[in-house]
Subunit: 295 residues, 4 copies
C-alpha cells in the first residue's frame, strides 16, 4: 500500500484522489478549501494541515492545480514542498501548464535528488470520476515506471511522451489539433447542409473516407447526428470553450518559444475566441458548430 | 451482361474501363486519344468512332473527364450524347466537377426521360487499377440502384449522398476537410518535434487520443513514421498538391454559392497554394509537412 | 455633343446616365424596367425599345449590369449589341464582373473591329449621384483616350490599369485589400479597447504611425471616433457586407485561376461570411468591427 | 540642464544616449558591456560603476533593455534601482515589453512615490541615430509632462496613449496592424502581377483608392516600385522579420490575456513565422512579399 500525498482537490483533483482511495492507497490530502478536504476525509483520506505537512511521509506526491503560478509557488516558494519531502519521493504534477514551467519545477526536484514526472490529463471531470482519464507523462524512465501504478488507479490510457515537460507538450499538441479537427469538421458539415445534404449521411461518408477523425467518431458537433454527446444536449457538459481557449493559449506560447508556425491552430483560435466573446465560454467546445450555422 | 459505353480513357478512366471488362461487361469505349482507345480494345473493348456512336446501344454510359467544361460540352453540346442514347439508359458521370454543373447536366438528362447519377471517385490511379475506388453518388434511388452493380466492378466503397449533385458536394466536403486534417496534423507534429518530442511517439499518442484522424491512421506526413506512404518515399505518388488545390477551388466555389463560411479550409488553401508556388505541385499532398519544417 | 447609349439603369446606372445628360451629352437609354427608362426620359434622355435599338446610332455605349451572365448575354447573345452598333463605336462596360468574362467580351468586340474598355467603378450610389465615382479602366490606349471624356462626366478619378480585363483585376485587388485593412484595423482597435485604451487616441496614434490606412483616414469602424461615417450611424449606408462578399468571391476566383496564394484575404473572407451569416448582409462593411467586440 | 541616467547602451540605447548629450543634457551611463560605456564617455557621458550607482543623482532615468526579464530584474531585483534613486525621480522605460510587466514595474515605482512612464519606440536604429524616433507613452499626466522634453531630444513624434502600460499596448497594436497591412498588400500586389498588371500602376491606383495604407505610401514591398526602401535593396536594413515576430508574440500574448480575438494578425503571424523558418529572420519585414511570388 503506497503512501500518497494529494494536493489540490478541485473538480478534477477531488475525484482523482477518491479513486486512489478506492484502489486501496493510503492518501493524505491538502487543499486551501476546507470543505474539499473534509469530503475526502469522509472517504478515508487523512487530512494534512499544510502542503508541507502533507508530503512529509509520502512515497508519491500528486499535485493538481489550476495554473503554472500555483505550481511554481507550491514547489519553488519559500515553504516549498521539495525539501519537506522524503529523499526517495516521486512528484507527479498533473496540472496542465506550460512546458517551460514544468521543466523549471522538474529541474528543481531533480537537483534535490528526487524524481519528477509531469502528467497532464485529458478526459475531463467525467473521466476523473470514472477513473478513465488519459495521462501523458514526461520524465525519466525511472520516474515513469514508479508513476505508472499510481496513475493506473485514476486513468485508463497512459503514455510516455519523452523527457520532463514532454507530457505538457504532447497534451497541448493533441488539443491544438483537436481544435482544428472540430472547427474543420464543423464547417465541412455546415457546407454540406447548406448544399442540401443530410449531416448524418455526410458524417457517415466522411467516417469511412479520408475525412475521418475523432470528432466524427466520438463527438459529432451537429445536433441530432449522435446521441449522448454534448451537441445533442444543447452543448452542455463536456470540455468547455474557455478551457479549449486556455489550451490554445498554451499551444501558441509553446509555438512562440520554439519559433514554430501553426497557422491552422491560429485560425481555430481566432474562431474559438470569437465564439467565447459571443457568450459561449461555458458551453462544450463542439458548439463551435453553431458559429457556422445560418441564423 | 450489361452493355456499357465508357467515354474518357485517361489515367483514371482507362483502368476503370479495364475493370469493367474484367468483370465480364461488354464495353464500348471512346476517347480523343486513339492510343487510349487501342489499349482498351486489346483488353476486349469495342471501339466507337465518336461519343455519339459509343452510346448508341448502351444500357449504361460512364463518363470520366477532366473538368466541367468537357462534361457540359459532351452532354449539352450540339452533338450531345443524350439524344443519341437509348430511352432506358443510365448516365453515370464520375468526373470531379462543381455541383452546379452536375445539376445542370443531370436536369438535361432527366428532362429527356433518362436516368443520371453523379459519382465522383476517390482513391487515385492506384485505386482505379486495383478496383478499390470509392464512389460517392448523387441521384435518384432508381438511378443509384441501377448504378450500383456497375460501380461495384470498379470500386469497393459506394455511398449515396443525396440528390443529383450531392455526390460532388460530398466529395469536395470530404476533401476540403482532408486538407484541414493534413495541414493541422503536420503543424502539430512539427511543434512537437520543435519541442524535442519524437514524431512517432507523438503520432502514437494522438492516434489514441482526441487528435486521431485519417492522416495519422493511414498517411502520416512525417518521413520515417510510417512505411509505404508517400512521406517515406520523398513524397512521390499519392494525391498531388495540384489536385488538392483543384478540389479546394471547387470547395471554395461551392461555399461562395451557398454563402457558407469555411475559414479553416481557407487557411489550408492559403498554405497549399504557397506550397504549390514553391514548386511542389506534383508532390503528394502530405508534403505540406515540409512547409512547417525548419530549413 | 457625343451620342451615347446607356444600358442598365439600376441604382448605379440611373444616376450615372443622369450625369451624362447634365454634362450635355445626347443619351439614349434602355432597361427592362420601364419606370427606370421613364425616369431618365424625364431628364432629357431618348428611350430605346431594345438594347439593339439603343446602340444603333451611338458613338459610345455604356453598359452597367449586375453580373457577368447579364453582360455576356447582352454582348454575345443571339441579338447581341456588337453587330447592331456603328463601326467606330466604343463600348464601355462599367459592371463589376470577373476579368475572364471581361476579356471574352472585349475580344468579341475587338474581333468585330470595335473598341472596348472595361471600367468598373467604386464610390457607390452616393458617388454615382454626385458624379464622383472612381473608374478603373482596362483596354487599349485608343479606347481609354476615347472613354476618358465620357467617364469624366460621371466620375472624379480615372485610372488606366492595363489591357482589357485589367480594370476588373485592379478593382478586386483593391477591394480585397480593403477587406483586409478593415478587418485588421477593427481587431487592432478592439484589442486596444480591451486593454483600456481610448479608441480615438489609439486611432490618432496609428494614423501617424506605420498602421496608417484608409479605414483610419476616412472610415473608422469604431462608433464615435469619426462623425459622418457609417459606424456612427448604426452602420447604415455605405458599402454593404454582401457586396464586399461578392467582391471577395471575385477575388478568390481570380486567385484560383492564376494559382495565387491570398491567405490574408481568405481570412478576411471567412470573417465577412460569418458576419453575413449572422444577419449583417445589408449593413455597411465597417460593421465587421462588431464581430470582435465583447457582447 | 537635466541630470539623466541612461541604462542599456545597445544598438538603440547607444545612439539615443548620444542624442541626449548632443542636446546638452548631463548623462550618466551604465551597461554591462564596457566598450559601450566607453563609446558614450568619449562623447561626454559620465560612466557609472553599476545601475544603482548610475541612478543616484538622476532627475530622470531612461532604461532601454532587450526583454521584460531584464527590465523586471533591474527594477525589482535585490539591488533594484528604485530605492537607490532620488525621491523626485522620473523613470522612463523605453524597452518593448509586455504591458503586464510594464504595469508591475510601474506599480512598484509608484508605490515608492516616484514617477514612471513606459515609452516604447519605433523607428529603428536609423531613427535612434537621427533622433527621429516615435515614442508612445503610457503613464500619468505628470509623468508624461516631465518625460516630454527628455524624449524630444531623441524623437520627433510623441504620443500619450493612456495609463501605465498603455504605451506598450499601443505600440504592439500598431505593429500588429502593420504586419497585416504588409502581408495583405503583398498578396494583393502579387495577385495583380499574376494577372498581368504592372505593380507600379497597381500601387498608384491603390494609393489613391480605399486600399491606401502606410506600406504603399512609404515602404512598397515589391522590388522596383519605390527607391530607397528595403525591397529595392535586396530587403536589407529596415525592420527585421525576427523583430516583427517578437512584436507579434507580444500582441498575441496581450490578446490572450484580454481574451481578444485577432484572427487577421494570427494569419499574418503564421506567414511571418513560415518566412522566418525559411531563413529570412534577418531580412526586412517587407520581404514577406517574396513568400507570395512565383518561384
Amino acid at each position: 500500500m503506497t503512501n500518497i500525498a494529494f494536493i489540490g482537490l478541485g473538480n478534477m483533483g477531488g475525484p482523482m484522489a477518491a479513486n486512489l482511495l478506492k484502489s486501496g492507497m493510503q492518501v493524505t490530502v491538502f487543499d486551501l478549501v476546507e470543505a474539499s478536504v473534509n469530503a475526502l476525509v469522509e472517504q478515508g483520506a487523512k487530512a494534512a494541515t499544510s502542503a508541507v505537512d502533507a508530503v512529509a511521509d509520502a512515497e508519491v506526491v500528486v499535485t493538481m492545480l489550476p495554473a503554472a503560478a500555483h505550481v511554481k509557488s507550491l514547489y519553488l516558494g519559500d515553504n516549498g514542498i521539495i525539501e519537506a519531502s522524503r529523499d526517495d519521493v516521486l512528484f507527479i504534477d498533473s496540472s496542465t501548464i506550460d512546458a517551460d514551467s514544468a521543466r523549471v519545477v522538474g529541474k528543481a526536484v531533480e537537483q534535490a535528488g528526487r524524481l519528477f514526472v509531469d502528467a497532464p490529463v485529458s478526459g475531463g471531470v467525467a473521466g476523473a470520476k470514472a477513473g478513465t482519464l488519459t495521462f501523458i507523462m514526461g520524465g525519466s524512465v525511472d520516474g515513469v515506471a514508479k508513476a505508472t501504478p499510481v496513475l493506473q488507479c485514476m486513468g485508463k490510457n497512459l503514455f510516455h511522451a519523452g523527457d520532463t515537460g514532454a507530457g505538457q507538450i504532447a497534451k497541448i499538441c493533441n488539443n491544438m489539433l483537436l481544435a482544428v479537427l472540430m472547427s474543420g469538421t464543423s464547417e465541412a458539415l455546415q457546407l454540406a447542409i447548406d448544399n442540401g445534404l443530410d449531416p448524418k449521411v455526410m458524417s457517415d461518408i466522411m467516417l469511412q473516407s479520408s475525412g475521418c477523425n475523432w470528432t466524427l467518431q466520438k463527438y459529432n458537433p451537429c445536433p441530432g447526428v449522435m446521441e449522448d454527446v454534448p451537441s445533442s444536449n444543447d452543448y452542455q457538459g463536456g470540455f468547455m470553450v474557455k478551457l479549449m481557449n486556455k489550451d490554445l493559449n498554451l499551444a501558441m506560447n509553446a509555438a512562440a518559444n520554439s519559433e514554430s508556425s501553426t497557422p491552422m491552430a491560429a485560425a481555430a483560435q481566432g474562431l474559438y475566441k470569437l465564439h467565447q466573446r459571443n457568450g459561449n465560454g461555458d458551453k462544450d467546445f463542439s458548439s463551435i458548430f453553431t458559429l457556422f450555422a445560418k441564423d
